[in-house]
């Protein structure tokens, strides 16, 4: 499943070639219209675990969930370059924070449990189906 933006970019690329050889026609515009009419807004979800509750702190873990049937977020032993260094980086890329971590101090001053502070972010994207 492609995002609407991707689909339109592909249409423009194709249309440019047709303009160059003077072959663009009504059917091309009808196809563009059908793309726009079949769009569906879906929510992409990004979990980020950061070192502190600050959106500027470095990341510990990341989990991206795409709104695609049967897509799963999996451990990847070859997980390479991280796209963001902080939650703020993700915000600059268009992600919106929908849940901030609970920053109340842990009163147990000896034991440690889960790792990092969890931010949940979303990006709403139009998809062509």
């Amino acid at each position: 499943m492609k995002t609407l933006n991707t689909q339109i970019e592909q249409w423009i690329h194709s249309a440019q070639k047709k303009i160059d050889n003077d072959s663009i026609c009504q059917a091309d515009l009808d196809y563009l219209s059908s793309i726009l009419q079949s769009q569906h807004i879906r929510q992409r979800i990004l979990y980020i675990h950061a070192v502190t509750p600050s959106i500027r702190s470095q990341l510990i873990a990341m989990s991206l969930h795409e709104p695609i049937k049967d897509q799963i977020a999996e451990i990847d032993p070859d997980y390479g370059e991280w796209p963001y260094r902080s939650v703020h980086d993700a915000v600059l890329d268009g992600w919106q924070i929908v849940q901030f971590p609970d920053q109340r101090a842990n009163f147990d001053d000896r034991e440690i449990d889960i790792l990092g502070y969890e931010f949940i972010l979303q990006k709403l994207e139009a998809y062509h189906e």
Binding site: V51, M62, S63, L64, I75, D113, I114, L115
Partner: protein
Amino acid sequence: MSNIKPSGELQECNFVDYLLTDEEMITFVIHGYHIVETDFTSEFNQSIYDEIEQLDGNPGDGILDAVPKLYQVYQHPKVNGALASLLGHHYEMSGHRHCHVNPVGSRSQGWHQDGVNQRHHQIQTVLAMYYPQDVNSDMGPTVIVPGTHFRNAPTDQMATYTNFRHQLPLTVKAGTVAITHYDIWHAASRNKGDRTRYMLKFLFNRTNDPDQPWWNHDPVVAKREIHRLDSERAGACSQSDHYKERGLRRQMWLHLLGQKSSKREE
């Protein structure tokens, strides 16, 4: 099945040259794992792989009886030396063990700690994971998060984690035994290869509280290395967690030395 203990003096002769050093022990305390590369032949490892392939179902705790060659794996001097260092020379093999099968096309597991959330900060039990085949990153390696053995996290609270910056895939050569603290966070990843990946997970227990260092302890070396308990990071975490982690490391180290926490450590 009853627990199996090393056989006294013979066992000590077997492993005494392979006890861990202070550097290795401190590394285990900080990171929670130690990798042992054995010198078994590729034919030996392959024969274990083949025997597992031919089993009619997974025998669970009965895997040792089903594949008796595994006794040799866990009697290897380097494996025994590491286990004796971490658990004392009278450690025992637990009656619980399992052959973990990661078939082609699997999905990755969720992160988890074994057992229930009643933990401590000592080395009472370790996992000893033997791999009878090479494991590359496509073959669904076990992945661990170093340093997490001090954390007490219910599995359901770990469900939103996927990839950690400091996760470590155990991509190993056939014959490797990866020894980890029982509480370390771990998971199997997806097998994208063309061959089933097996891992034999055996548990080993301490039988006595330490009354002395059981590894190749040298107080001079230990004194030189001890600062790492305070300064070395196993992975990214908050500063307040790291402060607590330092205390838990020292608590574990003192226990290993056979000292109470009120005594001065070497």
